[in-house]
Symmetry: D2
Subunit: 277 residues, 4 copies
Amino acid sequence: METRARVLIDCDDAKGLVYKISKVFFEKELNIDSNREFVDKETGRFFMRTVVTGIFEPDELSSELKGIAPEADIRVIVPKPKKIVLMATKESHALGDILIRHADGELDAKIECVIANHDTLETLVRRFDIPFFCIPADGMDREEHEEKVMELIDTFEFDFIVLAKYMRILTSKFVKAYEKKIINIHHSFLPAFIGANPYKQAHERGVKIIGATAHFVTDDLDEGPIIAQDVIPVNHRMEWRDMQRAGRDVEKVVLSRALSYVLNDRVFVHGNKTIVF
Amino acid sequence: METRARVLIDCDDAKGLVYKISKVFFEKELNIDSNREFVDKETGRFFMRTVVTGIFEPDELSSELKGIAPEADIRVIVPKPKKIVLMATKESHALGDILIRHADGELDAKIECVIANHDTLETLVRRFDIPFFCIPADGMDREEHEEKVMELIDTFEFDFIVLAKYMRILTSKFVKAYEKKIINIHHSFLPAFIGANPYKQAHERGVKIIGATAHFVTDDLDEGPIIAQDVIPVNHRMEWRDMQRAGRDVEKVVLSRALSYVLNDRVFVHGNKTIVF
Amino acid sequence: METRARVLIDCDDAKGLVYKISKVFFEKELNIDSNREFVDKETGRFFMRTVVTGIFEPDELSSELKGIAPEADIRVIVPKPKKIVLMATKESHALGDILIRHADGELDAKIECVIANHDTLETLVRRFDIPFFCIPADGMDREEHEEKVMELIDTFEFDFIVLAKYMRILTSKFVKAYEKKIINIHHSFLPAFIGANPYKQAHERGVKIIGATAHFVTDDLDEGPIIAQDVIPVNHRMEWRDMQRAGRDVEKVVLSRALSYVLNDRVFVHGNKTIVF
Amino acid sequence: METRARVLIDCDDAKGLVYKISKVFFEKELNIDSNREFVDKETGRFFMRTVVTGIFEPDELSSELKGIAPEADIRVIVPKPKKIVLMATKESHALGDILIRHADGELDAKIECVIANHDTLETLVRRFDIPFFCIPADGMDREEHEEKVMELIDTFEFDFIVLAKYMRILTSKFVKAYEKKIINIHHSFLPAFIGANPYKQAHERGVKIIGATAHFVTDDLDEGPIIAQDVIPVNHRMEWRDMQRAGRDVEKVVLSRALSYVLNDRVFVHGNKTIVF
């Protein structure tokens, strides 16, 4: 029976790489459905995402490819819905957009649960028959609260944690525990307006365009690798709440776009940047 | 004979302002060709730009309007080409765009001269029969060089100084001498990437969108009131020089757009922001 | 007690109109919170939308304003949620976006019901405790089916019918019955790709940008006054189904934007065009 | 000595193609500087653009590659400035933009001459020391005029004819004579508003976005393969001449972008579409 797989290769660049890789595909009689490569000249790093179909064992293909570049990061992925944990606070637009897409089957993912620090969104989430957990932070310090969240998270298997407007700062401990697995939507066109209330900052600065940024979360607040960004025009008539309202449409579209990229294994993280095929 | 004028009013908001102003227009039997108003609620400031036609004396209209709001900033402008001084360094895209528009009669302005700190652009400027002055900065400190530039500038009458990629930092003295008269194009989507080589910064940060910002120059570097901004998408394949190349198209379009706004008296400066009608 | 109202004026232009209108506001001691005017020079038509606050009777204000311009279309609206009827077929993105916004209180509207010609969306709609009616068209001709739909619609009071991807062509009878009340989202950047399957048409034509158009429905298919449009870039790698998928994000954002405009009384219809304040 | 070349392959898709091609590169010890591939599944066509460096004979490389796919269209191009003939009428924005870029060395091209049917642009073109030819059409029929133009064109060697707002319709004879060599900028977002005065059409239709399209010219007016498109927002306040003015910025940027693509051999024509790498 035919298998279809995504082959992801991330390794040091070397002469003949494409030749050697395509030789493996050829000898296994695989069809190449799509293929994207990129070499980062500055760092001499090679990235490749190829979708192949044919009669083959994914593990076998993986080891053969590893023979070519022993220390390469090689993944042969037979697509299946990834598992995600959603985190939110009170705002519904980003979360709601993901719930609708999920309900529609548009998202190649299974939502394990939604975790929030307020119960505002409980009704919405329950409408979609998705488990909702509220872990309020009242009367706790940051570490205590996070420990409770992590305890809960760790009862789930998941590929990604999606912060759909989770309005609390994460500790270094949390971020390290789920490295390269946390996706956040920041409500500004990073690196402009890092930190709290970017719409107010944008309004005070009098900008003519605002935006949103989806990124992997690293230890530096709002500094992780950017996956997707988009913008909309604003004008002097808009108060910061109007900008916030307008910005929500960008936030949700950008987060869902970024999510779709990672769910389809289209994103490589390379230092503080991403390659998005 | 019919006169056509732009009436610009900038004053504290008060009940009945529009009524009193429109009463003046009505009693003078003026036609209102277009009208834009804006009240900044936060600061209680009123802005209005009205184009009127009719048989009237601009000065008389102005004093009558001043009767309504004595401490208002009121200007009645009969449109005529404004005079501008261009400053540049080595790059031709922003300057060239202005020269072409000027040659075409598209710009409602008269270019008095181009002043540069290198002679690279001399040939280009001379093609358009525009006076070109090169004041090299070699072997001078910033103050000395600027003094020479100011001496030259002050031999001209002008409404605006346009920095068409003038790559030197201006001193506080220069900025104050020509307050609200200097327009700059900054090669980034401010306030992201303030300072030198924003394209390199953008590349290192791995952003997915870059932009350009036209703004009035104030004492704080890259912090003046923003007039216009625009952006374009970029991706991982682009090195910073590619971003720079792509960014040039945005820079020139944004600068020319901002210039067209100020030449048409469509911009009010209000603190650190602009109202663009 | 203070009243806040939107004053909408749509009449032939005449000298002194703004003066006479603002005189009424002034004498009633109303505050002007925001004000937009526009004169269509070609047709000599005047449009104004003013938000006023003060102590006044809306009806009284309305009749006083009518005194100024007897045949003007004048509306003094004290904002309250408008009632809408949604119509859909099988796709959930546009409908879902409206449902989420509605659940969030973001939409200043009350959804009376959703009417569909398939039952696909029933589960989704019921999640939001909104009445769902399925009127299948199988075995009926267009007129028969529509009659049933109209019978149902007429049991509701409503301000607008929103076609959230209702994939059936409406008869002239239907359109006339609800003139200026039906809003549609067309899945293309009109007037390009009128008619069926615009994404397929766009793909075949090899365009580099696709879009969506929200418009009032008139008798001419896809020819009604445009309220809002937006676009996204596409490329050669995308098959038409990819374009369709990408286009959905534009469709839902554009429809929701247009809906927000009409719910806030910001749209005037003028012949085959709109003025959006 | 090292050679750098662009390898362009356009052929029927077949299993092992990438393997066989990369084998040739590997055996010749070439470095792959960048590589883009695309397979059009619908038509089973394969496209590849690879930049290689190494010590090799371009002709030899070409014949070896032809050995793999005998009926493939294979080009091994050592980059050098392409020769272009510009055609224009009266408007200077698109032409001027190309002239500035050319003067700046930004365009990898040599402008052979500008041919116009009016002498309006003569002064501008002469400023750049570029030969200008005016062939007025007065008192001639289309065929006569074109014959004169073709006679002149044929005295030049060139790779592309760029219609920088050449406002005359070309005959089938002309188009066929320079197949796949003529690039046009159409002042609308094709396929909306085909034909004359698209800005007037756009204004009458009340669209909220206008655009421009750069495309290869084929026998069907405004129907050739699209190379690049872009758009800007417009609103009810703009008369068609305002739209035209605003549209010019899009036109020139889109034409220059398309020109840069073809000058860098990044465009494959495939039926009525383009693949742009």
